[in-house]
Amino acid sequence: MVDPNFIASLLASSIRAGTPLLYATLGEIITERSGVLNLGLEGIMITGAFTGFAISLATGNPWLGVLCGGIAGMLLALVHAFFSITLKANQSITGLMLVLLGLGITGFLGRNYIGEVAYYLDLIKIPVLSDLPYLGEVLFSHDPLAYLAVILAALLWFILFKTRYGLEIIAAGEKPEAADSMGVDVDRVRYISTLFGGFLVGIGGAYLSLAYAKLWTEGMTAGRGWISLALVIFSGWMPQRAIFGAYLFGGLDVLSFKLQAIGVGISYHFMKMLPYVVTILVLLVSVIRKRAAFGAPTALGTPYVRGKKE
């Protein structure tokens, strides 16, 4: 029953399916570390997916597509940043509206792109290593963005925990008053983190349409934004742990597909339900265990108003 070829191809596709989740999770980790809760991932991802696809189709350059997907994500994140940082509005509702906005705009503009064939990201087989039995397929035969995601996770870990700028981000998310009195411009740090986070989430979306699914369909994110939100909690706001979580959830996604294909009788509709149920359970576990012990930034979701004591 356990065929090594099956396992190898399952693991390889888990990495591909997990990569968009990884980008989105990393983006949201950076955003949340600075104290801003952006629930709009689903809308930002779909916007990145559409923009990436449309630009790749128009220019013939998938890399330009990826870049523009990231920029589109950043623009939506800018809306969120403006509302939650400058206007100090309810962050949950604004984030949620980004989902509606993203799904709406892409559904509206994206209709004529369904069934089109754009230019996609090619695989890079790393010489020698990719010829290794099994391991080569699993680890060394991916597209560049998949490799980049892992490097990025390591880089973000380094920036967050080993540099002064990372310290400022964490301070803005933990104790904004203290950060402010240390001379950190809290609003500025939060703006930058939210925009950069949106950029990564947008790239995660572009990865979906340009490397993973290789097509555009309305609503193609299919809940991946929500899963990424749960993965942020799951990874305890640590970039390095996000790698594991993203591939695990990517693997679940692939596994359900493969089980379906070989005729294991789990209803398709229940499989679609699963990510949402898992997300609720992850949230539940995270609130039952103490928030601080679990690693959530203390000031997450609270606007910072200078000189206001709670």
């Binding site: 809306v79 949620l96 509206m97 709406g104 609720i280």
Partner: protein, 332 residues
């Protein structure tokens, strides 16, 4: 003092942004808006459709407005609606109740299922302080896939070939229609319930504690009002309205259960409630406005083949503009 400038300015600003989007795909926005207007208001059928779309929005508007009075965001009206529709359909198709009991039974069971679906996030919020925005939202997907599963599987009808539908409801399980249009009894039920809720909120003890908890949780503690109770009750009430919306939709319009019985009515409840600033009577008015957007949206689809997704853009923009307006006023 009621703020009327913010909602009106928000609607205007959203019309402008959507107009730009329409222009971007080569449609004259003024012409499109004119078509939306004439098709809804100048014929019997247009007006009937307006009421048809307004009906579920009154319910989902209330489903958001009541918990919001207590400071809770019910983003789950969509899922509660599906659960209500599912439960009502089970009764309609399998219960063999006599005619006089059928509709009341469907109404009741839909209310209970909507409430039950809202009870999950309500309890999680009251006991564990779990963010109700996320939990209600995630449960929507669960409910929608549940209905999908049922109509693709156990509840698929015998006379529907391979479509994922149930069979048509028996006549006794459908709401009466009038004027040879789709206009049905549900519209009046919605209006009556909205008026009843207006009294509940403004003239009863429960309404009072609702408003206190929403306005000032600490004052509620001093006044001896149990916050947990109010959280749970307001959410249950909200879920009940959404569940009823589901029953009204399947027995008044669809006449069977199928996937996509609601085109985002639950989500539209959010701007409906916000625009009405939570006032149950104003919910009727703002539901009518969004009903107009729905009718207009589908007219745009048939006339210019503009995807109905434009309605979502409208909704999200209106909410964002209202929030911006409120924040600016608060600071201003």
């Amino acid at each position: 003092m009621r703020d009327i400038i913010t909602p009106i300015a928000s609607i205007a600003a959203s019309l402008v942004v959507v107009g730009i989007l329409l222009a971007a795909i080569g449609i004259n926005p003024l012409e499109a808006y004119a078509v939306m207007f004439t098709s809804s208001f100048t014929s019997k059928f247009g007006l009937a459709e307006l009421c048809v779309k307004t009906t579920p929005l009154i319910f989902t508007g209330l489903a958001v407005a009541i918990p919001l009075k207590a400071g809770l965001w019910n983003i789950g009206a969509e899922g509660q609606l599906y659960m209500g529709a599912f439960a009502a359909s089970v009764v309609a198709l399998y219960s063999n109740l006599p005619g006089y009991a059928m509709l009341p039974a469907m109404f009741l069971i839909a209310a209970i299922f909507g409430m039950g679906w809202a009870a999950i996030p309500a309890v999680l919020r009251a006991k564990f302080d779990l963010n109700e925005i996320l939990s209600t939202l995630l449960l929507n997907y669960v409910a929608i896939y549940w209905v999908e599963y049922m109509v693709y599987g156990p509840m698929r009808g015998k006379e529907v070939y391979n479509f994922p539908y149930t069979d048509l409801f028996p006549d006794i399980a459908t709401l009466p229609r009038f004027f040879g249009t789709r206009f049905h009894l549900g519209f009046f039920i919605a209006i009556i319930i909205a008026i009843a809720i207006y009294y509940l909120v403004n003239k009863t003890d429960f309404g009072f504690s609702l408003r206190v908890v929403g306005a000032n949780p600490r004052a509620a503690d001093y006044a001896g009002i149990s916050r947990q109770k109010v959280i749970i009750y307001s959410m249950l009430l909200g879920g009940m309205f959404a569940g009823i919306a589901g029953m009204i939709e399947v027995s008044g319009i669809q006449l069977r259960l199928r996937p996509l019985i609601s085109t985002g009515y639950g989500y539209a409840g959010i701007p409906v409630a916000l625009l009405a600033s939570g006032d149950p009577l104003l919910v009727i008015v703002s539901a009518a406005l969004f009903g107009f957007l729905y009718v207009g949206g589908s007219v745009l689809q048939t006339t210019y083949s503009v995807p109905v997704a434009i309605v979502y853009v409208f909704q999200s923009l209106i909410v964002l503009f209202i929030i911006a307006g409120q924040s600016l006023r608060r600071r201003g």
